[in-house]
């Protein structure tokens, strides 16, 4: 049970079992507590995974008042599956063209003070919502995000992403959180104050990384964002190069667009300005290093220079193994580390391409493409 000032807001709702999708209030089974949260899940052709997502939401230790699926023009059975599971399904007049568009469409349907936004391919640990909700202790806290771990870890790309998440969320994000500036409240799983979302006009469509935009805007308004490492979500990550490329392209363009958009205003936010600057430097210089300096030196002088690809191995291995050991996944993490090395070289190429297109060719990415 929650032990926060907000716990006074909680009450156990006793109502008939949901039988009609228009009856938006849900009954908490087994006397579980209801919280004033609406969960919104944008979905486009997600029939393969949406049932798992909804089931994980229905079995949360803290019950959300309402679960809304935004069926963004799916051509498969997404909507039917959702209805059969007893959640609310809303449909925009036409495909909104992006996750942010679908989420904004749902914003006017939300009547609770808190909104949980999660992706249609993301399942939650049974107490994830409870843990995020417990972190909403101060009025200034407008967004809370959790730890992300890939649901499936089989292919090279999923393994690379698995290591990337373990490393980044165990080390970098914890430090960002300690200094009260998590870089992003992850788009795949975050709890927001609904009035904050309304205040800023919802999820912006001006960049390809609306979660980063929303987080940085919060800091500029003097608001706070929290990271709760114990609240875990499991998204499905791109399983092949085709989809991984799309996702990385969107993220790289999104980051550059956000830096361009917020460059003046983030100068007023201590710590954020530092981490964004060193990130810009590293993302650009490391990419050039991986793609040109190391190959040239290894051909011209000695193949030993290929060691440059693993020179920062401790930075990757230590945090990854710390978390993996805690989760009893040491072997899985160890065998996945080479995949991460491949992923980041690919990532470097995509980042440099994005940098060139955004800054030199002035060709910003404007079309949202799904990453799986």
């Amino acid at each position: 049970m929650l032990n926060t000032p907000l716990s006074s807001l909680l009450s156990t709702v006793v109502k008939p079992q949901l039988s009609d999708q228009k009856d938006t209030k849900r009954t908490p089974p087994n006397n579980r507590t209801t919280c004033p949260v609406t969960i919104i899940v944008p979905a486009y052709n997600e029939e393969d995974c949406i049932a798992d997502t909804i089931n994980s939401l229905l079995t949360q230790s803290l019950v959300a008042e309402e679960i809304i699926i935004i069926d963004d023009g799916s051509t498969d059975d997404t909507a039917e599956i959702c209805r059969s599971l007893g959640v609310t399904v809303i449909t925009p007049p036409e495909n909104t063209g992006s996750k942010a568009g679908a989420q904004n469409f749902a914003l006017s349907h939300i009547n609770t003070p808190f909104t949980l936004a999660i992706d249609a391919d993301t399942t939650l640990q049974h107490d994830a919502l409870e843990k995020l909700y417990a972190a909403m202790t101060e009025q200034e806290v407008v967004a809370v995000c959790g730890f992300v771990i890939p649901q499936r870890v089989k292919t090279l790309w999923e393994r690379g992403r698995y290591v990337e998440y373990l490393m980044a969320f165990t080390f970098y994000k914890e430090i960002q959180s300690y200094y009260e500036k998590p870089l992003i409240s992850s788009g795949c799983f975050s709890l927001f104050r609904t009035d904050y979302l309304n205040q800023i006009g919802g999820w912006s469509l001006r960049t390809m990384a609306e979660d980063m935009d929303l987080t940085w805007t919060a800091y500029q308004l003097g608001k706070k964002v929290r990271f709760v490492p114990d609240a875990i979500c499991y998204p499905i990550e791109p399983h092949n190069f085709h989809f991984m490329r799309k996702q990385l392209k969107r993220w790289a363009h999104g980051f550059i667009q956000n830096v361009k958009l917020h460059r003046k205003s983030i100068l007023r936010v201590p710590f954020l300005r530092s981490i964004v600057t060193v990130m810009c430097w590293d993302a650009s210089i490391a990419s050039i290093f991986y793609l040109t300096v190391i190959p040239i030196l290894s051909v011209v002088i000695s193949p030993l220079f290929l060691l440059g690809y693993i020179i920062d191995l401790p930075m990757v291995v230590v945090p990854t193994l710390v978390k993996a050991y805690e989760r009893g996944e040491t072997w899985k993490a160890l065998t996945s580390i080479p995949a991460f090395m491949v992923l980041r070289v690919v990532n470097s190429a995509i980042f440099l391409e994005a940098l060139f297109k955004e800054l030199v060719l002035k060709q910003p990415l404007t079309t949202y493409e799904k990453g799986h």
Partner: protein, 122 residues
């Protein structure tokens, strides 16, 4: 380093420094704010991770030095006399670069703040 973005160079160094500052910040907060509770678990975990990373870097450096020395006859010696300076050199260069970049950012922030104040006064 962040998910979806490559690179862990001076950024990595910056985060290591941030971790080193954490225990002192916690002591300061505990002494100055009566309600503050020392975040032992978080500080200890991050400090341990950072320490292990630094030890890992020293081990890698030694390995690379041995490989290069034996294969390329490069002047990267790990003898008692020169080990520390040659180990410190890349760290000093990276630190200098980090300090330079962060100083530029802080200067930009200062100028931006002054400009805003001037505009408000006008």
């Amino acid at each position: 380093m962040n998910v979806g973005l490559p690179g862990a160079g001076i950024g990595g160094l910056y985060y290591l420094i941030c971790t080193a500052v954490m225990p002192f910040k916690e002591i300061f907060l505990t002494l100055t704010k009566p309600k503050h509770q020392f975040r032992y678990r978080l500080v200890f975990t991050q400090f341990s991770i950072s320490s292990a990373i630094i030890i890992g870097f020293i081990a890698i450096y030694q390995l690379v030095s041995i490989l290069f020395e034996s294969n390329l006859s490069l002047q990267i010696s790990i003898s008692n006399d020169s080990f520390l300076p040659s180990l410190l050199l890349p760290i000093v260069i990276s630190l200098a670069l980090l300090v330079f970049i962060l100083t530029l950012v802080e200067l930009s922030a200062f100028i931006s703040k002054k400009r805003i104040k001037t505009v408000i006064k006008k």
